[in-house]
């Protein structure tokens, strides 16, 4: 991770927001550390080593935020709560495996590096689904998209299957 000193302002702004939140008798589901972690690095290329030392609940939160670009929904919290007491390494491996194999992850363009939970060296870098559609330039994509939108649903599904699910 880069020098955290450069990111102190992110922590400072969080502290102010957190004080105001607490004063209103509400609580954030994230902490200062998550704000600082989020401030670091390229959003498209996530270095998993930065998450390795987090506790299980922090890890779950950051894995969702960085890899799926959203907060975990309450169902996900509930689902992982039981596993939350597992040793860190096992918990992290299970969460990452689930997220990285998910359809949702396959739709985005995020690449992960240093997947320390994966024993196979070849899989140390994983990215969202590559498809033939992704290789087209933007101009071609726009025309295909406009044409696609006018098609009946069954043709759209067929095209999705052929061109890749990240088309929409």
């Amino acid at each position: 991770m880069d020098d955290m000193e450069d990111y102190s302002i992110y922590g400072g702004v969080f502290d102010v927001a957190n004080q105001n939140m607490t004063a209103s008798k509400h609580f954030f589901q994230f902490r200062r550390e998550e704000i600082m972690l989020y401030a670091v690095g390229d959003p498209h290329n996530v270095d998993l080593l930065n998450l390795m030392d987090l506790d299980n609940s922090q890890f779950l939160f950051m894995a969702y935020v960085l890899l799926l670009q959203r907060f975990p929904e309450s169902l996900a919290y509930h689902r992982w709560e039981k596993a939350g007491k597992l040793p860190k390494t096992i918990f992290q491996k299970q969460v990452l495996r689930t997220i990285l194999r998910s359809h949702e992850f396959s739709l985005n363009s995020i690449k992960v590096y240093n997947n320390y939970t994966n024993s196979c060296k070849d899989d140390m870098t994983i990215s969202g689904q590559e498809s033939s559609y992704k290789n087209l330039d933007n101009y071609q994509k726009m025309w295909i998209y406009k044409f696609y939108q006018r098609l009946p649903v069954k043709f759209r599904l067929l095209i999705k299957k052929i061109m890749g699910y990240d088309m929409i």
Partner: protein, 393 residues
Amino acid sequence: MKVYIDISSLMSVSFITGIQRVVREVIIRMLLEKDFVIILLNYDDKNEVFQIVNNEKFTLFFRDDIDTAIDALTSELCLIDDIPSGAVFFDIDSVWMSILKRSYLLPKLKENGVRIAVQIYDIIPITQPQYCHQSTVFGFINYLSSNLKYADIIMVSTQSTLTAINDLTDRLKINRINGVVVPLGSDFKKTDEQIEQIDEEVAFIAKKKKYILMVGTIEPRKNHKLLLDAYDNYLIDKEINIIIAGRIGWNVNEFEKRLQAHSKFNKSIFHINGANDATIDYLYRNAFLVAFPTYNEGFGLPIIEAFERGTPVVASDIDVLKEVGGDFCQYFDPDNPKALADLILENYENEQIYYQRKRRISDYEPFTWDQSTQLMIDALNSLYDEKRIVTDN
């Protein structure tokens, strides 16, 4: 001067309200500025590159409703590093939820010699985070912190917001950033009025009785609850209706249930969802009063929109609304339903005073989008003014 503007959020939404309206109105006018070369950018996160938007087609769609937003996209691409030294990057859109987080983008731009300008609408996610979705607060902390660290100039729509930002920088013991107050315009796009039809069903409801109007997304911060409390406790036996115009937003399940279960729902209390601009315009023009019991705002556009149509406003006694509404508004404590009801009844029971207030509103001179845009252009030009004072510390 080359000015790069990321409009990805505007390009991706299917509705125009609040910030989208500001972005649309300002850019349409900035594109006419001869001294500026405006490059509109739409971020393609799959390919990690900006797509350049065709300026003429942007205006055709957003001003004249011709074609679609996607028709304005070109095949021309722009990487972050393509934005040249000496250019200005102007963040005016609601970008805090963008995958291209500003803690990544802004230092890169700064390193390349690009100057950074930002329009900050409010800092409510920091000052009153309980009224915002937590994911918004999370993204906003990144957005605001990055701008406090890297922006060369901050534009805000009220002095109250600038004061809040300065208070924050003082608290963080960092330098204040050069800040400029740019009040927002409120003149509606003329084509809206020409093209759109007033919803007849809504017009029918509006004609039934005098009504108190509330316009805006239903969310806890807007404090719709207070108007219902005032109605239930003090106004229920009066010949007054309540019309709430706005989509259902975040965290208002309880209020929504209360509204729909109310014995007067769809009799004296109405919820209008998805009204077009012409219908909102009609509702404003014919309202007895506009009520604005909000806990906080970046600007308080409903006040101006009501004044433009000659309708008196009763609003929360908070700094930002007092700055915008001045002595044309009447103010009440947003935690006191009786205070709101008292003001409504004062107008309801005393026609002479009510019409005096209405007449006085005709003296109100609202800011126009032309004026707002000119102030923003001046602020951007100031980045190149050698005599400029960089900070006001």
